[in-house]
């Protein structure tokens, strides 16, 4: 039963608006994917970081994101069996579990979240943005589907800045390789004005997304920027950037956030509105999906809100000012790929986390290190030390996995989290009569 005060009621109704919208969008998208063959649509598989949705839409391609499928399978508790299936096929225990979930899903009939078979892709669009596993993943898919792979190389931001050379290098790839191939495969001629129109829509939704994510700066944050954040980034990181649906979704969400701010309310959790905000955290690293709710509960039960996270920047660092720019269509796509969090060097990631702790008035940094994700995990302890040193705020380190349920040890994680919260409390209450 819901709380029936008038404020709570209005909030619930409006909260439901964005949630219902998102649910409808996802359902429609999966239906479009699974009926692509009947409708004569062609399908492209691609990744979230460096996702070129606006460009792909110019060729009427339906965007299939294997990472999102793996997440869906994780949340629906199906990934465990898929991971084991992939291991039976010879993939080692240490391989990224997104990959194994995907491979296992294919081996088991490639059934999507709507219960229907996902189509084989017509093309694999690999925009490489810092994660080496993506290369290997698509090698496996190419072998499986015998389809063409387009490889867009994004230079790594090792020196912390984007140079004109980098952009030129990427624009050249768009012009000489990516666009001609997409035209040939799709049979649709490239229309740059169509691209501009999509980019314009992207920028509009991106403005609202940034507003929402930055609402975490309020002391008594109206959102949880990690667990809630996963939902908020869904449309813009997935197949909806550049669509009217995304614009509408973020408008709904923005209204809800405004209402919560006005009412002085905290984030909405699966157990209803969150109680007192006792701890404000910045989180680095992806979440665990197999025990997502249980994991989140460990935070909200203790009054811990995540006010900012790096994971919600893997599909774009919009809060640092980047917007898709219709006036520079190809350049802007290049800048987008270059800027995503996975393409950033360790010093850049440290700077970002330090900024977040300061700007969002956080109590400290929590790192959720992913067992099977080397690209995220490498260097995280060093990052933690440096952030601690520069902010003077306590940090903690926990370890789980993306979608392999075997690596979620609830008792250990809870123990560490509680210790961390008490550590914050102890530091806060000063040196003497602590705790």
């Amino acid at each position: 039963m819901r709380v029936t005060t008038s404020t709570a009621q209005t909030t619930d109704v409006i909260k439901d608006a964005s949630m219902i919208k998102q649910k409808q969008m996802m359902a429609a998208h999966y239906d479009r994917l699974t009926s692509a063959r009947e409708n004569g649509d062609k399908v492209v598989s691609t990744f979230v970081p460096g996702n070129l949705n606006e460009l792909l839409m110019c060729f009427d391609l339906v965007n299939n994101l294997p990472e999102v499928n793996a997440i869906q399978n994780g949340l629906r508790r199906k990934s465990g069996a898929f991971v084991m299936e992939a291991e039976r096929a010879g993939h080692s225990e240490d391989v990224c579990t997104y990959v194994k979930s995907d491979i296992g899903m294919m081996a088991k009939g490639n059934i999507g979240p709507n219960g229907k078979e996902l189509p084989a892709p017509d093309v694999l669009m690999l925009s490489y943005t810092g994660c080496f596993t993506f290369l290997k993943w698509f090698e496996l898919l190419r072998e499986q589907y015998k389809c063409e792979t387009i490889f867009l190389q994004t230079p790594y931001m090792a020196d912390g800045k984007i140079t004109p050379n980098m952009i030129q290098y990427m624009v050249k790839q768009f012009k000489e390789d990516v666009i001609p191939k997409l035209e040939r495969i799709s049979g649709v001629k490239f229309d740059i004005d169509r691209l501009r129109e999509y980019l314009r829509k992207s920028a509009k939704a991106e403005d609202d997304l940034v507003y929402i994510l930055q609402s975490g700066k309020h002391v008594r944050s109206p959102i949880d920027a990690y667990f809630g954040g996963i939902y908020y980034i869904g449309p813009i990181f997935g197949a909806f950037r550049g669509t009217d649906d995304a614009i509408e979704y973020y408008q709904f969400l923005k209204n809800e956030v405004d209402q919560r701010i006005a009412a002085g309310l905290g984030p909405v959790t699966p157990d209803g509105p969150m109680g007192e905000e006792k701890y404000r955290l910045v989180v680095e690293g992806p979440p665990n999906y197999t025990n997502f709710r249980q994991f989140w509960k460990m935070f909200y039960d203790e009054g811990a809100t995540v006010v900012a996270s790096s994971y919600t920047k893997v599909g774009g660092t919009y809060d640092y000012g980047f917007r898709h720019d219709p006036d520079r269509p190809l350049e802007t796509l290049a800048e987008y790929c270059l800027g995503v969090y996975t393409n950033r060097s360790l010093p850049m990631r440290i700077d970002m986390l330090v900024d977040y702790i300061n700007e969002y008035q956080a109590d400290g940094l929590l790192i959720n290190s992913i067992k099977s994700c080397n690209s995220f995990s490498a260097g995280q302890l060093l990052m933690m030390r440096e952030v601690e040193k520069r902010t003077g705020k306590p940090a903690a380190f926990i370890e789980t996995d993306l979608v392999d349920p075997r690596y979620f040890s609830a008792a250990n994680v809870k123990n560490r989290l509680e210790s961390y919260f008490q550590m914050i409390e102890q530091k806060r209450s000063g040196k003497g009569v602590a705790a």
Binding site: L381, P394, N415
Partner: protein
């Protein structure tokens, strides 16, 4: 008097510490955790209360240093006599429980014989008991299960042979009874048992130490009021403690180590199922920590497993490993693999002490990795937990600390197993103080 209790519910043992208002530890108690934290908590608490009585007795006689040999001897005798009283109470309980188990088809023919045999076994056990608690007796363990169990089995074998009763029947009733008895801590009033023990001591010594008796009586009259209790350790969530009575064991270990050695900056705790590397600031506040993940190899349980594999007692491993001059190089820290490695090397004829020394080194290597992840070792360094009692582990630790961090003061308190409980007791004291001063507990 006001007392503050810290209880550390570990995976292997449960520890309790009783503290007075002046931050002085007055009692410590330990018991095996069984699978019943409720009981473990009660038993450890009771043990600490008993220990506290002895502290109070000593206080009656003035400062610890000033206590004469005569008084010291008297108090030690009193403690042994008290332990004996406790033991006998539990033996009675065990006998009663065993007899209750003699029923059903299995005992239809031999039931009476088994009962007679049990009476004989327990008579012998009671006769032996005073010697087990004699002035020179050494006990490998203080847990009732260990003491009573090993003697029961030995005596039952003899009696079974003589009475021509199948040994396994005697074993069967014991197995069915011991857990129940163990989970039923001695019920009798502590004061009564102290008085019985006092009587026993004066009878044995024949001394007319009436002033000693009076002092003991005075100390017994002091009421120990449990002002505030803090629980920590793995079992803490299973207890009916409210949130303000629970602290994470990481914070408790950090604070406990600080209480023992105020200059502590790095703490290593190797417990039954986890290894913690903790950095603390000069006031004992935790700054950072790391723990083992997903795998408990390299913890106390690892040694327990090895002890089982070698058919040895846990406490015998360290001394044997200390005999090694040429430790084997063992890289695997997976507990199960270590068992395989152990058998393999034994089969190849390697000396047991060398293999054991290698295994101790493997544990410490693993701990070193956890410490380095928590931020390395700063001076002073305090090593706590059950494994800190193992000399072979300590020897390897000292070597590796020196190799990696140079000269560092390494503190190991003989009571280090109580570190978490001590931190808990201090948290309890502070919380109660905060409450009294109107601050947040």
């Amino acid at each position: 008097m006001k007392t503050f209790v810290g209880i550390d519910l570990g995976s292997t043992t449960t520890k309790a510490v009783l503290m007075d208002e002046n931050e002085k530890v007055i009692g410590r108690g330990i018991t095996n955790s069984r699978s019943n934290y409720d009981t473990a908590c009660r038993v450890a608490g009771q043990e600490a209360a008993i220990d506290a009585r002895f502290t109070l007795f000593r206080r009656e006689f003035g400062d610890a240093e000033k206590i004469s040999d005569q008084v010291d001897g008297f108090l030690k005798g009193l403690e042994r006599a008290f332990r004996l009283e406790q033991f006998l109470e539990q033996v009675d309980d065990l006998e009663k429980t065993c007899i209750e188990q003699v029923k059903g088809e299995r005992f239809s023919k031999l039931g009476d014989g088994v009962k007679l045999a049990l009476a004989e076994v327990f008579n012998l056990l009671r006769k032996e008991a005073p010697a087990m608690y004699g002035p020179d007796a050494t006990r490998k363990s203080d847990f009732f299960r260990d003491i009573a169990g090993s003697r029961y089995l030995a005596l039952a074998e003899e009696v079974a042979r003589e009475e021509k009763i199948p040994y396994d029947l005697l074993l069967n009733v014991y197995d069915k009874s011991i857990i129940a008895v163990e989970n039923r801590p001695p019920k009798g009033e502590l004061g009564d048992k102290f008085r019985a023990a006092l009587k026993r001591v004066t009878e044995v010594s024949g001394s007319s130490a009436s002033d000693l008796q009076q002092s003991v009586e005075r100390a017994l009259d002091i009421e120990l009021e449990e002002t505030f209790l803090v629980g920590t350790g793995y079992g803490r969530v299973t207890l009916p403690f409210s949130k303000e009575h629970i602290r994470s064991e990481i914070l408790c270990h950090g604070l406990g180590a600080h209480m023992m050695y105020p200059k502590t900056r790095t703490v290593l705790d190797i417990g039954g199922q986890d290894t913690k590397g903790i950095q603390v600031d000069p006031t004992g506040i935790v700054e950072n920590f790391q723990m083992n993940d997903r795998c408990a190899a390299g913890c106390g349980r690892y040694l327990g497993y090895i002890a089982d594999e070698m058919n040895m007692g846990l406490h015998e491993l360290g001394p044997l490993a200390m005999k090694s001059e040429k430790p084997a190089r063992i890289n695997s820290t997976c507990t199960v693999f270590a068992g395989a490695e152990l058998r393999d090397r034994l089969a190849l004829g390697e000396a047991r002490e060398d293999i054991l020394a290698g295994l101790h080194r493997a544990i410490i290597l693993r701990a070193m990795s956890i410490i380095s992840r928590s931020g390395g070792i700063a001076d002073e360094f305090t090593f706590t937990g059950g494994v800190a009692k193992n000399d072979a582990a300590v020897r390897e630790l000292k070597k590796l600390v020196f190799e990696n961090y140079g000269e560092v003061t390494i503190n190991i308190d003989p009571d280090s197993i109580y570190t978490g409980a001590l931190g808990g007791a201090e948290f309890a004291r502070r919380a109660a103080q905060g409450r009294m001063e109107g601050m947040d507990a």
